[in-house]
């Protein structure tokens, strides 16, 4: 890649970071919140919450499998309000 191309690429990435990254993060966070609810609804039974029938859960597990490790980590992670600080300054 020539230097000029690199500079143009970096500039484009800078603009993406400045204008779209926040939108991506916020949207991904919202989607994840819904996903966490679905996980709880479907897998809650494994945790001792009698919610849905196991047969439905078992059929859906292949779709949930990819996110299970992250979901577990999220649920066990320490929560702190300073995680949520907005970008104001």
């Amino acid at each position: 890649m020539t230097t000029l191309k690199k500079i143009i690429q970096s500039f484009r990435e800078f603009l993406f970071g400045a204008f779209y990254m926040d939108l991506y993060r916020d949207s991904a966070r919202m989607a994840r919140e819904y996903k966490d609810f679905i996980n709880l609804l479907l897998l809650g039974e494994f945790l001792g919450l009698p919610i849905l029938s196991t047969s439905i859960t078992l059929r859906l597990i292949p779709y949930l499998y990819g996110d299970l490790a992250n979901w577990k980590r999220r649920q066990l992670a320490e929560k702190d309000v300073t995680d949520e600080v907005p970008d104001i300054m």
């Binding site: 500039f11 800078f14 970071g17 400045a18 926040d22 996110d67 992250n70 300073t82 600080v85 300054m89």
Partner: protein, 582 residues
């Protein structure tokens, strides 16, 4: 040459050389010798990749994101106060503050988080400073900080709506655009670039309406009640905005406000650099008075006020919260921390210099500093922009644009602050006080108290309280870094020196403001004259209430200083322990 010297550009270019030295020499030394960064060390973005919080992105994307996150009204409005001392002291502080403190603070807050599994400030304070008490102090401190920052921004938005007729209508158009954009993005799932074009067209319409329909006129309800009315109207908007679901308003509003905000910043920076070609020359004196009191109010002595009036353009404590809670989780490799943390902060320094340039070019003796106060920014900024974009014919458009720019920036910030206040209230108020954590009550409290604050002081005084608290937070973050670096057995001088400087400056500034309010309270007790108090109309018509609010500010000042000292004590204790560890 003398022509070039009489424009702001040479000074901005001089600063760029200083920043280049900081970036390529000083920060590189810290990066390699203190933190010993390595591209092979796994970052939290890879360790815990989930595509939402933790995911690696390139340094250019993260630089843009970090810059967008930290660039707000701080570096734009702060120089207004600082220019009372002449533009030279302000310029020197912006350059030196960035060179020795600002970048070190932002870069380090990213690094301490990256080396600690992407943890944010709260857990880091808990881990390194000694458990729950310091963390609760930090939370309590944040609560007061949020009240003060809310007071500043509510006052400023009401003021902008009042002094720039037409801006209110323009703001309403932007609100409507945000609601539509929310639907386009999340309900109809339209292409984001199509939505971008729609948003930019709506903003252009808002700016045009702002320029073409200057309604309602300034002080339309008389000098006593206009500001109060605007504040209450704003509170209603903020109440619904802060309580609405994220996709309904906050997220699309943040998204569309970035276009005029970052666009305005870029226009300003280019305008400042092009001044030798556009022929705009310096108007303000390089050195002013060093002990400024404008009438009853005013910033006060150059030390410590200069160092807290320009907060975010030189160093800002809030950056440590943002850097540790978000940016650190997306850092691809450790070697990117310097271009992202230091790079974004030095770019912010450039923004502060450009904003300073907008004040520098206002002719000496101009009445905008007295009459319009913060409107002075618009006066200078429209000149910088029109000089290379459209000429004199475009001056009304640029005036409307920069007025809207200020309002949108302030409104977006204030919505986020109000929402965050609710979250912190929910966390802090438990047991018998849990009703204060209720989302409706917390939001109302988080709006009404700042309105009362705003009515009882000038924004200059509020700004110094805000700047003082913000900078104190920076001092505490630098101290925390020093503890972590000392534990690593690496030299901590590059942060401990600035940390001590910031603590001295900020506690002095908070002390100065507390003293000012205490002096007003004592004068009132002796004379019984409401005019000696800090009070804006209509609060001025109610002497006892005005007196009470001045007492409240004395108490807040004492609490902030007390919390600052307490936190500094814990930090210093931990720092000493870390240094003496075998």
């Amino acid at each position: 040459m003398s022509d070039v010297l009489s424009t702001p550009s040479l000074w901005v270019l001089g600063a760029l050389i200083a920043y280049a030295f900081t970036y390529f020499v000083y920060s590189k030394w810290v990066d390699e010798k203190v933190w010993e960064v390595s591209a092979d060390r796994t970052t939290p973005a890879h360790m815990y990749m989930d595509g939402v919080e933790f995911f690696p992105v390139s340094k250019s994307v993260l630089w843009g994101f970090q810059f967008k996150s930290i660039a707000a009204l701080g570096p734009i409005l702060g120089p207004f106060i600082a220019i009372s001392y002449g533009w030279l002291p302000a310029l020197i502080w912006i350059i030196l503050g960035n060179m020795f403190i600002g970048w070190a603070h932002d870069y380090s807050s990213i690094m301490i988080s990256v080396r600690n599994e992407g943890r944010s400030m709260g857990p880091l304070v808990y881990q390194y400073v000694g458990g729950d008490r310091p963390r609760t102090i930090l939370l309590g401190y944040l609560l007061f900080y949020l009240l003060i920052i809310s007071a500043v921004f509510i006052y400023l938005i009401a003021l902008f709506w009042n002094v720039f007729p037409g801006t209110f209508l323009a703001t309403v158009i932007v609100f409507i655009a945000a609601l539509i954009v929310g639907q386009m993005l999340y309900k109809y799932q339209m292409n984001v670039y199509t939505v971008t074009i729609f948003a930019i067209i709506m903003i252009a319409i808002a700016v045009w309406v702002g320029a073409a329909v200057p309604w309602p006129p300034k002080d339309f309800l008389g000098p006593d009640y206009t500001m109060l009315t605007w504040s209450l109207i704003l509170a209603v908007f903020l109440f619904f905005a802060a309580l609405a679901s994220m996709p309904t308003f906050i997220t699309p509003m943040n998204f569309i406000s970035a276009f005029p905000a970052i666009g305005g910043v870029i226009i300003l920076i280019i305008g400042a650099l092009l001044t030798p070609l556009t022929g705009i020359s310096l108007g303000q004196p390089s050195i002013g008075k060093f002990d400024v009191l404008i009438g009853n109010i005013g910033p006060g002595p150059i030390f410590p006020v200069l160092f807290v009036s320009i907060a975010c353009g030189a160093v800002s404590g809030w950056h440590s919260l943002v850097g540790s809670s978000t940016t650190a989780k997306q850092l691809d490799v450790e070697i990117d921390a310097r271009p992202v943390g230091a790079g974004a902060m030095l770019t912010e320094g450039l923004l502060a210099l450009s904003a300073l340039a907008a004040y520098m070019i206002i002719p000496a003796g101009s009445d905008v500093f007295q009459k319009g106060k913060v409107a002075a920014f618009v006066t200078g900024a429209k000149e910088l922009a029109a000089a290379y974009l459209g000429g004199e014919a475009m001056l009304p458009f640029w005036a409307s644009f920069f007025a809207l720019f200020l309002v949108i920036y302030a409104f977006t910030v204030q919505t986020l602050v109000t929402r965050y206040w609710r979250l912190v209230s929910g966390e802090l108020f438990t047991g018998s006080l849990s009703f204060l954590g209720n989302k409706y009550i917390a939001t109302i409290v988080g709006l009404l108290i700042p309105i009362l604050f705003a009515l009882s002081g000038s924004w200059l005084n509020l700004w110094i309280y805000f700047g003082g608290s913000n900078q104190l937070l920076a001092g505490l973050a630098l101290f925390l870094t020093a503890i972590i670096v000392a534990k690593m057995k690496r030299p901590s001088g590059y942060v401990i020196g600035p940390a001590i400087f910031m603590l001295i400056v900020t506690i002095s500034a908070l002390g100065w403001e507390t003293y000012l309010y205490a002096k007003k309270v004592m004068s009132y007790l002796q004379t019984g004259d409401v005019n000696v108090l800090f009070a804006n109309p209509p609060l001025k018509n109610y002497p006892l209430a005005a007196f009470f609010m001045n007492v409240v500010f004395v108490v807040i000042g004492i609490i902030l200083i007390g919390l600052g000292f307490l936190m500094a004590y814990y930090l210093f204790k931990s720092y000493s322990a870390a240094r003496s560890e075998e």
